[in-house]
Subunit: 221 residues, 2 copies
Amino acid sequence: VSTDPGVTARTRNPRGQGAILRGQLVAAAASLLASVDHPEALTLRRVAREVGIAPASIYGHFADLEDLLQHVLQLRYQELADILVAANDDERAVVRLVRVCAAYVRWGLEHPGEYRTLFGGRVPVGMSGTTHDRGKELLVLLTGALADATGSERAADIERQEAAGILLWTSLHGLVEARAEHPGIRWPAWSEQVITLVALHASRDRGEISEIAASLPGDPN
Amino acid sequence: VSTDPGVTARTRNPRGQGAILRGQLVAAAASLLASVDHPEALTLRRVAREVGIAPASIYGHFADLEDLLQHVLQLRYQELADILVAANDDERAVVRLVRVCAAYVRWGLEHPGEYRTLFGGRVPVGMSGTTHDRGKELLVLLTGALADATGSERAADIERQEAAGILLWTSLHGLVEARAEHPGIRWPAWSEQVITLVALHASRDRGEISEIAASLPGDPN
DNA sequence: TGTACATCAGTGAACGCGCGTTCACTGATGTAC
DNA sequence: TGTACATCAGTGAACGCGCGTTCACTGATGTAC
C-alpha cells in the first residue's frame, strides 16, 4: 500500500555525493517552513518523510533539527537582506525609503512562515546570536534610509534617528504580522498601507509617496 | 518523595461544590498562560499538575483543553476590553485617544503570554469566531477615538477612518509584539513610542501629545 | 588482473518522553423510605 | 431513627500517537596490494 507520494524508492546517492542529501534536506525544511503555519510543526521526522529517508539519516548531515533549521533560516535571511540592499538603491533618498519598506512588507507577506520564524515568536535558541546581529543590519539599513529621507543632517540626532527607525520598523512589522495573523479583517491594499506609513514616519505628503510607489516596478498588489 | 510543591494532599471538594475545581482550573490555566512564552506549552496535563489533580479530572468540567483555554481567553479579553472602555473616557477626544493607545500597549506588555495568544499567532480554532467579533469591537473603539481626535466629521470619510484605525492598530500591535519578541533591541521607553505613534497617526504636534501623556495617572515607565 | 578491505550513504528497530483521551472504579455524602 | 441507595468529585491505569535520539547494521563502491 503506497500511501505517500514520496515513497517511490529513493535511490541512494553515489559514492562521493553524500552532500546531495544535505541539499535536499535544506530544501525540504525550507518548503515545510514556508507551507506550515506554526514553526513547531516543522519536525525532524517530517523533514525525513518529505525527502523519503529514515529519520536517523539526518544526523549524518546535521547535528539536530535546530542545526538544520538554522541553515534554512540563514538562507532566507540572506535572501531578504539581498532584496533590501537591492531596494536601497536610488538617487533620491525618499525613493530608497519607499522601496525598502515596500520590499520588506512584500517579502514578509509572501513568506509568512519564514517571516514568522525569523521575526515573530521567540527566535529559536541557536539562532538568537546570529539573527540578532543580522537583524540589526536590516534595522540600520532602514534607519539610514529613513534618516536620509527626512534629511536631518546633524550627527547629534543619532539617537532620535535610531528611535525613528525602530518605530518605523515596528509599524512595518506589525503590518506584516497582523495581516498574516488576522485574515478576518477587511484589509486595505498593503501597498496603500505602506505608503501611508512611510508618509507619516517621514513627514512627507502622502501624494508624493503615492506617486513614487506608483512609479516603482513590480505589481502594485 | 514529594518532588512537586503542589503535591500536598489536595482535599476533595465538598458535595455541592464541584464548581470550585472549575475555578481552580481556570486560574491555573491563566497562570500558565501568563508565565509560559509559547502557548502550545500550555497542556492539559500541565494544568492538572498545577492544580494537583489527575489529568482525567479536567473532563468533568471542560470538554477538552481548548474549551478551558477559551474560557481563560474570554476572561482576559474582557479584562482588556474593560480597560480600554474605561480609558476611552474624557472630554477631549485626543486625550481619549492617547489613553486608549497607552492602555492597550501597557496591557500587552504586561501580559505578553496572554497578548500573544489573543492577538499573535493563529488564533486557536474554537476562539476564532468569538475573538474575531470581539476584536472588531476593540478596533471600532480605537478607530472611533482616532476619528474623533483627528476631527474629520464627514460621514463619507468612514472608509478612510477605518483604514486609519486599522493602521494605527497594526502599529500598536507591532510595538507590543516586537518589544516582547526582540528583547535584544535597545528600546526607547514604550510611552515615548506610543506618544510618537499617536502624534503621527493623529497628525498632532508631538509636544501636545507628550503633555497629555504626562498628565495621565499611572507610572510613565 | 584479482581480491581483501576501508569507506561511504543510509537503514531499521528500539528507547523513553509527554501528550490527549478512555474507561471502569472508589469512596464520601446527601436523601428517600 | 436507622439504612439502602443514588449522586457527586475525582482517581488510576491504560491506550495509541508522534516525537528526538541511539545503536548496531547493511550493502554498494572505491582503493591498496
